[in-house]
Amino acid sequence: MTFNAAALLLLIAGLALIGWLAGRARSMMLAGASGAKLHSRPQYHGWYVALWLFAPAAIFLAVWASVSPALITNSVLASDAAQNLPAFGFERGAILSDARSVAQGAQAAVRLPAAAPLVKPYADATQSYAWIGIAAMLALALAGGLYAFTRIKPDFRARTRVERIVMAILLLASLVAILTTFGIVMSLLFESIRFFRLVPATELLFGTYWNPQSGAAQPGTFGGIPLFWGTVLIGAIIAMIVAIPIGMMTAVYLTQYAAPTVRKWVKPCLEILAGVPTVVYGYFAALTVAPALRNFAVMLGIPNASTESALAAGIVMGVMIIPFVSSMADDSINAVPQAMRDGSLALGATPNETIREVLIPAALPGVMGGILLAVSRAIGETMIVVMAAGLSANMTANPFASVTTVTAQIVKLLTGDQEFDSAKTLAAFALGLVLFIVTLLLNIVALRIVKKYREAYE
């Protein structure tokens, strides 16, 4: 008997359904018996009972599911069998979790002999706490349901009450976004502060040697500059050299020259480019583009050409971003008033001259904003660089060499087998914090530029 949250949730949902039917039936019966007119329609009375039945029990369930494991462990530790466990530390935790997984049926037998005597106390505690939890939950559900049920009268304002609860739910839903942002900032900040206690922040930001060893922090090996350079080289230089001209010219062609039917067909095709998953781009870059580039580099006689190159990752990332740049440029060009374009054409300028001398300068702020957003996207992109750019931290301007980026290193630091508290894992969070701040600033600046420019013409 374990504490199965999903099954219990279904159970109280079922009870709530019964409550809904009962509440509705009672309101109709009362109205029929007394001849009074109901204030709210019967289903609102039903909803009132169902909500009172469901909500307290569900909240209790959520709290209990997060609290009960600790309670179970405490009661096991208080039992006689736990007295000869080793003192705090990794071994103790391993024995406890071994006993727990056997007790809960996740594995057939104990792996550590010391865990064997703990299985029974664990099973007993799990069972008794499961019963306590279920009993308390059912009691809460019934109490809530009964309370609501007894309040049903013909003139009871059930609809107003239900609507108030609905509004509260709407407000809660919109708070999830704030909660997520808060969670991101807090988790990044906490772990980064722990990291900066081991390694000074100045080293991460200005150090030039990156080679984190597993285990203890070794100052002098956490210099982030090579990663930042690699990120800029791939995301802000190579990818943009590919994406900006192609994206811009595509937008110009599609808005100014292409026939409406062509535009109608080409735009969705470009959107496919944006919809291809990044892992596919990464595979494409690693399997097809990188070897081709390496052969090309060898042909040119470039030394240390690698199969994992900044150029391969950057080019493919640029292709991925083309539709993004193109749609941002498209929007900006379309926002330029038609009168400006017509004026230029009326003076005798060719379409080409109009575009270059009038439309693009007028659309430039919006295009710049779009480019900043594209850069922010490129430096946060992970899979392409993990698969195609390599993991060696080189500070090189040679695009054929292997470089590494912030995101690739986050993945590398967090996918080995290590303790969660080592400097290596904490470093990933510190890098995440840097990435978060940089992309946030880029987004804020870009959105401000785009917004300001929009207002100038509208």
Partner: protein, 418 residues
């Protein structure tokens, strides 16, 4: 203002040349624009061409013809136990693997057992379980070839192996069939039996959980912000954080999930549950933004009419605005879900990178998703996995493109002009 200028001679040679130059520049510019469009199209075509070219071969597999005479090599297993739950173990203990290897050696020569996959006997096992009568006489099985043989047969090979495969082919011992185990199995180290079913099921579970959380939350948040929220600092804060979340790199959500869901709440690592929660947080802002646009597009006259006949503000929204905005909301949701389905980076951080040889049983059991399977296979140097990876990519792209097509269909079908 009485400066004298010579009148422009429009017909003069210099002027004609200048005009011709301007027209040439115009044509060049237009050609460059067309070139840019074609270049982006060419990238897409090349990408799809390479994937399909590599991947189609992954859907088929080379089988080797091996006759097994169970009358001569009796498999001592009680026929009545074949229906039991432990039939697999009973057959394995009876030494079927050795019998199959021996039969292969006998049929194909001394190295015969190396030409078929190590796991080929499992196919025989399945066949026996389906039809125990096979145990009494001689049957010709078409067993999956070893990975090298499969590659050699499909792409040609040099050296001893190539000659051997050519010889088998001229003897008519090789056949090609649809690679069913690719669709039925989970990941494995042997390309002959590795499949995508485990990853596909993991993807479905993960996306289902993400949808279950992100869709109601996103739509309700959008309703609140668009219909009821007062204009104050709090709603500004909500708005800013939603817009920012939509642009936060996906890997940051992986860090959040690792710190909060796994290390703080202690939820099951590498499971569809945590993966779904992570993707839900990631897609929620997308759904909110799309839903707000859809809700905004519902004309105020609808609201006024409903209010006018006495509906409460909650009734106005849930009875009138929401149903009218639903097609737009669904379009945005499908696009958001398609993006979440293709996402790999955040899942990498919550431990979904591990090798999972089983089809996931529930939301809390270790599982992997299709993009992660692609990523894991792309690391395999073994050439048999190149085809597998591309084939899995084809499956993923088909799923994603059909989701996007559905979204476009929705948009066109339910698009309303008020």
């Amino acid at each position: 203002m009485n400066r004298q200028t010579a009148p422009t001679d429009w017909k003069g040679a210099a002027m004609q040349k200048r005009i011709a130059g301007r027209y040439a520049a115009e044509r060049r510019f237009k050609a460059i624009g067309l070139g840019a469009v074609l270049l982006s199209g060419a990238f897409l075509a090349f990408l799809l061409f390479v994937m399909v070219g590599n991947g189609l071969r992954g859907f088929t597999y080379t089988n080797v013809e091996v006759p097994i005479d169970f009358a001569a090599m009796p498999l001592t297993v009680d026929a009545s136990r074949l229906g039991d739950a432990d039939a697999d173990r009973a057959i394995a203990n009876a030494g079927l693997a050795d019998i199959v290897a021996f039969a292969a050696d006998e049929a194909l020569g001394a190295d015969g057992s190396k030409l078929i996959s190590e796991n080929a006997w499992k196919e025989v096992r399945t066949a026996i379980k389906d039809d125990p009568a096979l145990l009494k006489d001689k049957t010709v099985f078409h067993l999956p070839a070893a990975s090298e043989v499969d590659i050699a047969a499909k792409q040609g090979a040099k050296g001893a192996l190539g000659a051997r495969v050519d010889a088998l082919e001229t003897d008519g011992k090789l056949s090609t069939g649809i690679h069913w185990s690719f669709f039925k199995n989970a990941d494995a180290t042997d390309p002959a039996v590795a499949g995508i079913w485990g990853a596909l099921k993991g993807s479905v579970l993960t996306i289902f959980i993400a949808f279950l959380i992100a869709f109601p939350t996103g739509v309700l948040a959008a309703l609140y912000l668009e219909e009821y929220a007062p204009k104050n600092r709090w709603t500004d804060l909500i708005e800013v954080s939603i817009n920012n979340l939509a642009a936060v790199p996906s890997i940051i959500f992986g860090l959040l999930a690792l710190a909060v869901f796994i290390n703080w709440f202690g939820l099951c690592q590498a499971s569809a549950l945590v993966g779904g929660l992570t993707l839900a947080l990631m897609t929620m802002p997308v759904i909110v933004i799309a839903s707000r646009n859809a809700i905004k597009a519902v004309p105020p006259s609808i609201r006024d009419a409903a209010l006018g006949v006495g509906a409460s503000p909650v009734q106005v929204v849930f009875h009138h605005v929401l149903p009218l905005a639903l097609p737009g909301i669904l379009t945005g949701t499908i696009i958001g879900m398609a993006r979440a389905l293709g996402e790999t980076a955040p899942l990498l951080l919550i431990g979904m990178r591990a090798f999972i040889g089983d089809v996931p049983g529930g939301v809390c059991s270790p599982s992997t998703v299709l993009p992660m399977q692609i990523f894991l296979w792309s690391d395999e140097v073994d050439r048999g996995f190149v085809e597998k990876t591309s084939a899995a990519i084809i499956v993923l792209l088909i799923v994603l493109l059909s989701m996007n097509a559905l979204a476009i269909y929705f948009r066109n079908k339910f698009e309303k002009r008020w």
